[in-house]
């Protein structure tokens, strides 16, 4: 209300940020529902093959078969059902990998930024080394080493992406640590660890939440890339990355096998990132 009264243009900016938050959050909530209820929502078994029903087009095209709304892939598996089940894996990786990366990266960033000294030296040097790795190649390498399966993908994401949190959180913790309120908390008799948890962490938390949202989008992409490169697959598991890899090979015969998972991935990544950007604006005191 106040923003509209001052009429300095920030009201409009805030409303746009609000809309963005609702759209992105709404889409992700819908995807979460689809993921949770996929076994009941999906019209077909995502693994069931029927070679007589291979490469059926989506429902509005000629030759479509009723019940296969978005068509089938070359093995006759229902694209819509596989998409719904794929959402489960995508969101699972996003949540687990994102949270673990955030916890580990933020913890290391807080330690480096607040305690300084040799802790900072070791962690900062590690960050430098990590930044010199080509991330996609490193993740492919890690998955090859750890072996197939979702765990390998999650471990690869955590091992590679902790620096995203550590770098930013370290800088923020350093800035906060130099402020008066921290000095007075220490003077009032708080221990260092107590100050870190009770004074600094709450002030860094908004940044961590924004980074976490962005990281979930990145995790979804990394999962898709690793499935696309085909290093970690049981080929039947319905994942968006696997579907995209299959669709890329039959792109001239059946475009829909590639298009639908691509759109799903695109919207999910866009939503995570818009959610993050929207939250960033929300937390920004200038806009507030």
């Amino acid at each position: 209300m106040a923003a509209e009264l001052t009429g300095d243009g920030r009201g409009g900016l805030r409303r746009r940020a609000g809309l963005r938050l609702w759209l992105a959050g709404g889409w992700l909530a819908l995807m979460a529902l689809v993921a949770v209820f996929a076994p009941w929502l999906a019209p077909k078994d995502p693994l069931a093959q029927d070679l007589f029903l291979g490469r059926l087009p989506p429902f509005w095209q000629e030759g479509a078969e009723p019940g296969y709304w978005l068509g089938t892939d070359s093995l006759g598996r229902d694209v819509l059902s596989r998409l719904m089940h794929g959402a489960r894996i995508a969101l699972l990786v996003a949540l687990v990998a994102g949270t673990l990366t955030g916890l580990i990266g933020s913890a290391l960033g807080l330690l480096a930024g607040y305690y300084r000294g040799w802790t900072d030296t070791v962690i900062s040097r590690a960050i430098d080394i990590w930044m010199a790795f080509p991330p996609v190649l490193f993740s492919i390498l890690l998955v090859a080493v750890i072996g197939p399966g979702l765990t390998a993908i999650i471990v690869a994401i955590v091992v590679i992406d902790w620096t995203r949190f550590a770098r930013v959180v370290r800088a923020e913790a350093m800035a906060q640590g130099a402020m008066d309120y921290v000095t007075s908390a220490r003077a009032a008799g708080r221990t260092r660890a107590g100050t870190l948890l009770a004074e600094i962490l709450p002030n860094v938390l908004p940044t961590i939440v924004v980074l976490l949202t962005l990281e979930m989008g990145i995790a979804v992409i990394v999962e898709a890339i690793l499935k696309f490169v085909n290093l970690s697959v049981s080929t039947d598991a319905p994942t968006w990355g696997g579907m995209i890899a299959e669709g890329r090979t039959s792109i001239h015969q059946a475009w829909w096998v590639l298009v639908f998972p691509l759109v799903a991935l695109f919207l999910m990544v866009l939503s995570f990132s818009q959610l993050g950007e929207g939250l960033k604006d929300r937390f920004d005191p200038v806009l507030r």
Binding site: A132, F138, L231, W255, L258
Partner: protein, 337 residues
């Protein structure tokens, strides 16, 4: 003197970083379960054959000893022999590097041009619907990574409107007169525009996929610093002299707004190079990244090591160049102020 000491310190940390990368890769790929030699030999190979070849590649020794042997070789310019191709790793890697460099540089040029054009248009048409549209497009371009843009481009320009090639670096049936691996540069130097067109038709989509996210970053930052510059007194002065708005932006504001953008472009360029790995795979482009993925799939340990080290060296070299250029361009740093 101050600058010289800073440079030496920077070189020392770079060396430490590269050594760290080497150690980590070395250890990580040797924890791989399964013997790469056993995978390589035909099914009928005896245990004796496997043991002999394992010893030949030095894979039977303890890891620290293997590392020392490898470092000794690297210092003499010997990166070992590829297990799958039986060729020196250095030759293989340097043979592919030009393809990746050309792709990355083309992407960089596209990103700067696209991003620069978006920023200038957005500033010139500030407050209009066009500016709002550019901002929205920018937001989407920024949020979606190169891998997805690559797939979108494959669909749109490979299938829907098949005007560009979506696979390979050059049409295989063409007779290539090149003596180096820098096909794009050489075709320009030799004025072979037929070959240039064929190369560009293969490279434009992967380059564009790599360029779109970077273009968005360039546009965002350049527009922001243009906006700040536009409020400065000297720009207002130029305006009161009666120069047109377009001229004020391009001649007066742009030169001052461009430095922070250039620094950022340098840093982001390393991310772009890292992105070539998956983009080259997606477009079957015969570069370093594509070879890297094959090396991982084939468990070709010496080749993986060589490629990762080369990528790391490339990244640190780009960062070093950016820092030095920035120091040279920024008078406050140069005079040790």
């Amino acid at each position: 003197m101050k600058l010289l000491r800073a440079i030496l310190l920077r070189l020392a940390t770079t060396a430490v970083t590269l050594a760290g990368v080497a150690v980590i890769v070395f250890v990580v790929i040797r924890v791989v379960p399964g013997n790469p030699i056993a995978m390589m030999l035909p099914p009928g190979a005896t245990d004796e054959d496997i043991a002999r070849l394992t010893a030949h590649y030095g894979l039977d020794r303890p890891i620290p000893q293997q590392f020392l042997i490898w470092v000794g070789g690297v210092l003499r310019g010997d990166f070992g022999t590829s297990i799958t191709n039986r060729q020196p790793v250095l030759d293989l890697v340097l043979g592919r590097l030009p393809a990746t460099l050309e792709l990355s540089l083309l992407a960089l040029v596209i990103a700067v041009l696209l991003g620069g054009a978006a920023a200038l248009t957005g500033t010139r048409l500030g407050g209009t619907r066009t500016e709002a549209a550019i901002d929205v497009a920018n937001g989407v371009a920024l949020s979606v990574p190169d891998f997805l843009w690559g797939l979108v481009l494959v669909l749109v320009f490979g299938v829907l409107f098949p005007i560009f090639n979506i696979s390979g670096r050059v049409t295989p049936s063409l007779d290539l007169p090149f003596v180096t691996e820098f096909y794009l540069f050489e075709s320009l130097l030799r004025l072979r525009f037929d070959l240039l067109a064929d190369l560009l038709s293969h490279m434009i989509l992967p380059a564009l996929a790599l360029a779109i996210p970077l273009a968005a970053i360039v546009a965002q930052l350049l527009k922001q610093s243009l906006k700040e510059t536009m409020h400065l007194d000297y720009v207002t002065l130029a305006r009161t002299r009666g120069y047109g708005e377009t001229r004020v932006i391009t001649r007066e504001a742009l030169p001052n707004a461009i430095l922070p953008t250039l620094t950022l472009v340098g840093v982001q360029f390393t991310f772009l190079i890292g992105g070539t790995v998956i983009i080259e795979r997606l477009f079957s482009y015969e570069g370093l990244g594509n070879m890297a993925i094959d090396a991982v799939i084939n468990r070709d340990l010496p080749l993986i090591q060589g490629i990762v080290i080369l990528f790391a060296a490339l990244f640190t070299a780009v960062n070093l160049t950016v820092d030095l250029t920035y120091a040279a361009l920024n008078p406050r740093l140069r005079h040790g102020g």
